[in-house]
Symmetry: C2
Subunit: 486 residues, 2 copies
């Protein structure tokens, strides 16, 4: 990742100039980056994208040609352009590690930095965390649905251009899938890549049998045959069996698998399984693809489909069912002349009213089982007791849950301190393992694909009261304004 400072909204740069004009460059701002809801009707997200965020913050730079372009807009003065040319991030960043389970309104990332700097990062930080988190979460749902069967990412062609094709596949793997068809991802991240043949392979030969035979000869050890070009059960599977008998068995090899890519996958897989078994090919895997998503995979398994591996394309890499994660980056407080001024944004839409102040998230784990019991978001200076804690529902405050016998863990790690990276970004493999561990600590009821049980994600009482106070204060200020106007 190089430069790329202009991959941002113009308003970040106009605000930057405005802040500079109005002597606000010394003010220290704290922003929270979080999603407003869980995607796909689920009850959690797998946070992802921090790997690229670290690269971005380290490398952000306005190049000479960037400055030259900005000058042509005729809205920025030379002093401000010069300050952009010298831009370097000098603040602090905290984040949850990639692979961490997180929920709505819980900051995945927190920035504390001089106002202009913190502001200028906004657009790209959201861009770098939203899609990755959505994709890793989607992947984890596919893996849950597949109940131990293999899941592969097949979406390169369907991805929204290159970054999503390559990085999207990586985050899918972080979320739990077993491999990808994208060769570049294998090269860059050392992951398992898979793939065999397209329909065009079959069609390019005079007959399906000749096509299968040729493929078996070229790849006797990894021979997966696509059987639906002409007629799956009448032509494809019989030809695969014939190739096994006539080509591979004489070489001491087997057909590794067949792939179904159309038709009713439950029906066809059961029929194909029987045909393969009857031919003594019990070890030949059945792989299926074609518009799969988590719900379809779950349904297919419920219907007794004999599928060993699922290939998922557009509904993973494009997150087709819920194509956008509503990540926002909101100002929480300003430090000015040594004083902390908490900030809040009210909204007609109550869910969009922000939670002010600088906050931490704590997760409670059952001491016996290690299972997650709930989270609480608290003001940074609160001390979370280690023996007994009462979770309070932020809306229906009469709903409370008393916790005892727990371990408690703070979710954020410090990533940058005074602009210096102080966190080593884990490898993809480590983050994938972290995501798997996180998912294992979540009760299955919370992982249900639709209508999951609610996981406790509460605000501490001091934080709840603090938010209420701030809302009242702002509303009073508005009332005063209205009175004045009359």
């Amino acid at each position: 990742m190089k430069a790329e400072a202009l991959v941002t909204d113009l308003y970040q740069l106009t605000m930057g100039k405005g802040y500079t004009d109005h002597n606000k460059t010394e003010e220290i701002a704290s922003f929270d980056l979080f999603s407003r809801k869980n995607p796909f009707g689920g009850e959690y997200m797998i946070s992802a994208g921090l790997d690229k965020v670290v690269e971005f913050i380290k490398s952000i730079k306005f190049t000479d040609s960037d400055i030259e372009y900005l000058r042509t807009l005729n809205i920025f003065d030379e002093d401000y352009l010069e300050s952009l040319r010298n831009f370097k991030f000098t603040g602090d960043v905290w984040a949850v590690p990639d692979g961490t389970i997180i929920g709505p309104n819980q900051p995945m990332l927190k920035v504390r930095a001089p106002l202009v700097q913190a502001q200028l990062l906004e657009t790209r930080l959201i861009n770098l965390m939203g899609y990755p988190t959505l994709t890793a979460t989607n992947a984890s749902r596919l893996v849950t649905a597949a109940q131990g069967r293999l899941v592969f990412e097949f979406g390169t062609r369907r991805a929204p251009l290159k970054s999503a094709a390559v990085e999207g596949a990586k985050y899918a793997i972080m979320g739990g899938v077993d491999g990808t068809s994208c060769v570049q991802v294998g090269k860059e991240y050392g992951v398992n890549i898979v793939g065999t043949m397209a329909h065009s392979w079959i069609e390019s030969f005079d007959t399906e049998y000749e096509a299968f035979k040729a493929y078996a000869e070229s790849f006797p050890d990894s021979c997966v045959l696509l059987v639906d070009t002409y007629d799956t059960l009448k032509s494809g599977v019989p030809n695969a069996i014939r190739v096994a008998k006539e080509v591979l068995e004489p070489m001491g090899k087997k057909v590794k698998g067949i792939r179904l890519d159309s038709g009713d996958l439950a029906y066809l897989s059961k029929k194909a399984r029987k045909m393969l078994n009857d031919a003594g090919m019990k070890e030949t895997m059945i792989m299926a693809s074609n518009g799969l998503n988590a719900i379809t995979i779950q349904d297919l398994i419920a219907q007794g489909a004999q599928i060993d591996a699922f290939g998922v394309g557009e509904k993973l890499i494009n997150n087709k069912e819920d194509a956008v994660l509503s990540v926002v980056y909101k100002l929480m407080q300003i430090e000015k002349d040594g004083k902390i001024i908490p900030k809040i944004k009210l909204s007609e839409n109550a869910a969009k009213t922000t939670i002010p102040g600088s906050k931490s998230i704590y997760r409670f784990y059952d001491k016996e089982t290690g299972m997650a019991l709930g989270d609480v978001m608290a003001l940074d200076d609160e001390v979370i007791p280690t023996d007994k804690y009462t979770l309070v529902d932020p809306i229906h405050t009469y709903k409370q849950k008393e916790l005892t016998n727990y371990n408690v863990k703070s979710l954020h790690v410090k990533v940058f301190e005074n602009g210096e990276q102080v966190y080593e970004v884990p490898s993809l493999e480590e983050s994938k393992k972290h995501a798997a561990d996180e998912l294992a600590s979540l009760y299955v009821e919370h992982k249900r694909l639709k209508n999951p049980a609610k996981y406790y994600r509460d605000l501490s009482l001091p934080l709840l009261n603090f938010q209420k106070e701030m809302i009242e204060k702002k509303q009073n200020a508005i009332k005063t304004l209205v009175k004045k106007a009359k």
Copy 2:
């Protein structure tokens, strides 16, 4: 765009080796790239992405490190790796220019090249045309909905990572929107960029009035104020009016606009318009954003919303309502030893059965009005009469429409010939103009956002009959296979 040959599915490379092993490197294949359906429930697509396709085909290269990585997979022999290292495209490509209106099953791009080459391009060609076409089409629908009002692309933060943020905004502009918030797009493509302030700007000041005043001082000529941070009608709009009177008017300047970003945009815009007009600020524009799409824009206008400019984020850059275009790349014929062998793929799903042969698309225009009357896809060697033509519905062949008094135009241009680029890619501005002209030639009934009138896109009778013959031939071959097996 550099190298990037590995941004592809592994199976392209395995097939490449298989073709090489089986002496198929001399065979010339023809592939069609097309979408199976129109997105968003509409009746057309704006083809886009050819600009990057040309760059890709010219620059595709397996680097030394690519080859080294492929070697580690232990499935490719050295001869094949060497052939990849020397890969250069030597074939022919035809395409419709970016901005052309196109429909389902109509090839946006056609490749005729040695089989291995044509195959190796597949994944990236689909990747480079699907999202751009979807996004340009989406943009054109927003512009239709806005009925002459301005539409801006605001989705940088919501885009699936960098390529979509930058290229997506470009294709949105090609499809008709008036500008983008993404600075990089302004720099790279010289387009109009827009933007003013976020809620954090307002919050960073003690009061909304101070925030507005400061902004007006920094940007007296482009002062658009975000009025919904605390309370749109009670605080935001009154403060905007006060800034106009107290700060800008004394400087001889005006508030250029206000922006609404939450609440009921129809109601708020009407109220705000009245307040502004009552204050003598008739020229102050009202801009609106917040989860807008084409349908919402149409509804707002129907409800008398007083909005002059719409900002569209995630529902444009992510195409949230229809997040994937089902573009495919299908083998149509093989030339071998001087003989043409047409190819077809059957499918349980009739819509997935391909149309064999090398084909052209012709569009008929009314000689008087210049309006598009319908398209016909024909085999390349067919001659389309210039005086009278009968369009025949491909499924319900009794449905026919006789055309006279028309001009007829072939839609494809030749882009590469023997591997050499023979087409100059138009500028973004030219392609945007082309898209606008194309849309202007389409009757409004076809541009209706939902339930549009069907536009004739038929197959010529020779092509229809050719497809039928091919289907029968393949089905007979399967019957013979089944008989043999018994």
